[in-house]
């Protein structure tokens, strides 16, 4: 007995079509291939001979696929050194994705390089005549991502928050979301992607204001398709590679480890 569901479980190497240095530490690669990915899904990115890591997909328009990553670990630092024409393996897409209805008003909260998948969601939702508010946050002006890209989308308002006030609101992007949710025109839904502390704040706020919300949760992943169990979360035992990474707020709020701890490749707990 075989099935047609597992064509995407062997990595295939592709040549990098273009490299863009987004900030000092953030790089985007474009590949001349579509994996038919939806916003919020992830792909396992393989650097042959080194390692394979999960990454959110920054765009897949049916012709090209883009990833945007922060060079923070050994593998991503080595990936950042690659040039146009170098080979990178892609396996996926995996996981759940953001969901919306045509013509909805969506608020998208992006922290750090979470701006990349949020842009993918925004660009697809804009095609469905959704009106969008992108709330982009970063430590400082030079770490802000995808602002120009968001601004070019139809029906999109962009607001910015930086920790040091070097651009836009001085403080957290969640403070801007709070003002929006407490105002007269509440969005139909909030989407969020970024550091887990930001996600907890978004989750609490949306729960309190009774606004539906979808957030992207990250855990250590190996297989990407629900076999190894490395990304299961307490106490539900669900696998975030198949039941996530995008989860509805009601589900996120039943994950007791959300905002508290995560597990490493050995399954050992680490506080957030």
């Amino acid at each position: 007995m075989t099935c047609g569901c597992c064509h995407n479980r062997l990595p295939v190497t592709h040549r990098i079509a273009s490299v863009k240095r987004e900030t000092e530490q953030v790089t985007s690669f474009t590949f001349a291939v579509s994996l038919g990915a939806k916003p919020g899904q992830f792909v396992m990115v393989w650097l042959p001979g080194v390692d394979e890591v999960p990454m959110s997909i920054a765009n897949d328009d049916g012709k090209q696929l883009q990833i945007t990553f922060f060079a923070v670990g050994d593998t991503t630092k080595k990936l950042a050194l690659l040039k146009k024409g170098d080979l990178v393996g892609l396996r996926g897409p995996f996981g759940t994705h953001y969901e919306w209805k045509p013509k909805q008003h969506l608020s998208l909260v992006a922290g750090g390089y979470g701006a990349a998948p949020m842009f993918f969601a925004a660009s697809e939702a804009a095609k469905d005549q959704c009106t969008l508010t992108a709330i982009v946050g970063a430590r400082s002006k030079e770490h802000l991502l995808y602002l120009d890209a968001f601004a070019k989308l139809k029906g999109t308002t962009v607001s910015v928050a930086t920790d040091d006030g070097s651009q836009g609101h001085k403080g957290y992007n969640v403070e801007l979301l709070s003002a929006l949710l407490k105002g007269k025109k509440k969005p139909d839904q909030v989407f969020a992607c970024g550091p887990e502390r930001m996600l907890v704040a978004v989750s609490d706020l949306c729960h309190e204001q009774k606004v539906p919300c979808q957030i992207s949760l990250e855990r250590y992943m190996k297989c990407g398709y629900g076999l190894c169990g490395n990304c299961t979360v307490d106490p539900l035992g669900i696998r975030l590679c198949t039941d996530g990474p995008v989860v509805k707020n009601e589900l996120a709020r039943t994950i007791t480890e959300f905002g508290k701890y995560h597990r490493d490749h050995l399954g050992k707990k680490h506080s957030l």
């Binding site: 075989t2 099935c3 295939v12 001979g49 076999l227 169990g229 106490p235 035992g237 696998r239 050995l266």
Partner: protein, 314 residues
């Protein structure tokens, strides 16, 4: 129609058991698998101390096979205590603790610690093909080593039944099983992954798995598992319970394993093909087959092929 099996005094509501290595890291995940219909749970291999696995890619697959070289990562005894302790507080189905070590002595030490956590069975992994660079040929590849590990574990296991997990990658699995039986084993898990195998990325010309090679599982290995179960059953006179595992996808696959000599059946890789619900699906398919064939209990199926063979001889 009853799917229930009682093995070495432990009752399983149905014969499906989560195989070791899959989705088996935390108490939460064990309960989740039980909620999906598994009759029992096997933990991922437990080490005495922390053991690092291999870098990614560690698991890759096609519709026919899966290769893995995760490298048996584990956080060590403290985590085992926490997770098994948690599971025992609210335990939906029996728990089989799978243990691994690098020396005969350490198998004994690990077993002595884990039996204190009161699992229903101990399963001894002497057959992982993914750590050969680190430890050399698995203990399951030698009659002497397999027997020595069995003795070391049995010396400390008390009343907890000990199942030895065997490798298909040997000339004569029956002789290994016989040696373990003589050394005191209470049952066998047959089989661990096959090979190892290799897959190459065409453009980079490099092996895909970071470990280069990995154990093969999935539907393609099922006939090898069936033959190995039959060999072990025959070599040990049909007197030892066997947890048959390797390539099971459907209820009919499971029945084939029982006929070859299995009492319980391990499901792992099939989760990747049919989803977490595979345990319930396999049980429903077994029930449907048994009802259509007038089989009242799965207990009557174990070893059926051997009885059919002897009765068909002139």
């Amino acid at each position: 129609m009853s799917l229930s099996q009682t093995v070495r005094g432990v009752t399983f509501q149905n014969p499906t058991v989560l195989a070791s290595g899959i989705w088996g890291i935390t108490a939460s995940s064990w309960r989740r698998v039980a909620a999906n219909g598994a009759g029992g749970i096997t933990t991922k291999s437990l080490w005495l101390a922390e053991h690092k696995g291999h870098p990614n890619p560690t698991i890759i697959s096609t519709p026919h096979w899966t290769l893995n070289a995760v490298g048996v990562p584990d956080a060590g005894l403290e985590k085992a205590r926490e997770e098994i302790g948690d599971y025992n507080k609210k335990k939906p189905v029996p728990l089989i603790a799978n243990i691994i070590a690098n020396t005969v002595d350490n198998y004994g030490k690990t077993a002595a610690e884990i039996v204190q956590l009161q699992p229903d069975f101990l399963e001894v992994n002497i057959s992982c093909p993914n750590v050969e660079d680190e430890f050399g040929k698995p203990f399951a590849c030698s009659v002497r080593d397999a027997s020595a590990v069995t003795k070391a574990v049995k010396a400390v296991s008390g009343k907890i039944p000990v199942f030895i997990k065997l490798s298909p990658n040997v000339d004569d699995i029956g002789s290994i099983a016989s040696a373990c039986a003589e050394a005191g084993a209470d049952g066998f898990t047959v089989i661990n992954t096959v090979g190892p195998g290799m897959a190459i990325d065409l453009r980079s010309r490099l092996p895909i798995l970071a470990n280069k090679v990995g154990g093969m599982s999935g539907p393609a290995i099922k006939p090898i598992a069936v033959r190995c179960i039959a060999d072990v059953y025959r070599a040990t006179g049909g007197k030892f319970p066997i947890i048959g595992t390797g390539g099971i996808m459907t209820g009919e696959d499971a029945i084939e394993f029982l006929l070859a000599g299995a009492t319980l059946i391990g499901i792992g890789t099939a989760i990747g093909y049919r989803g977490a619900e595979v345990f319930r699906m396999v049980c429903e398919e077994m029930t449907a087959w048994c009802e259509a064939e007038g089989v009242k209990s799965v207990t009557e199926l174990t070893g059926g092929m051997h009885r059919a063979l002897s009765s068909s001889r002139p």
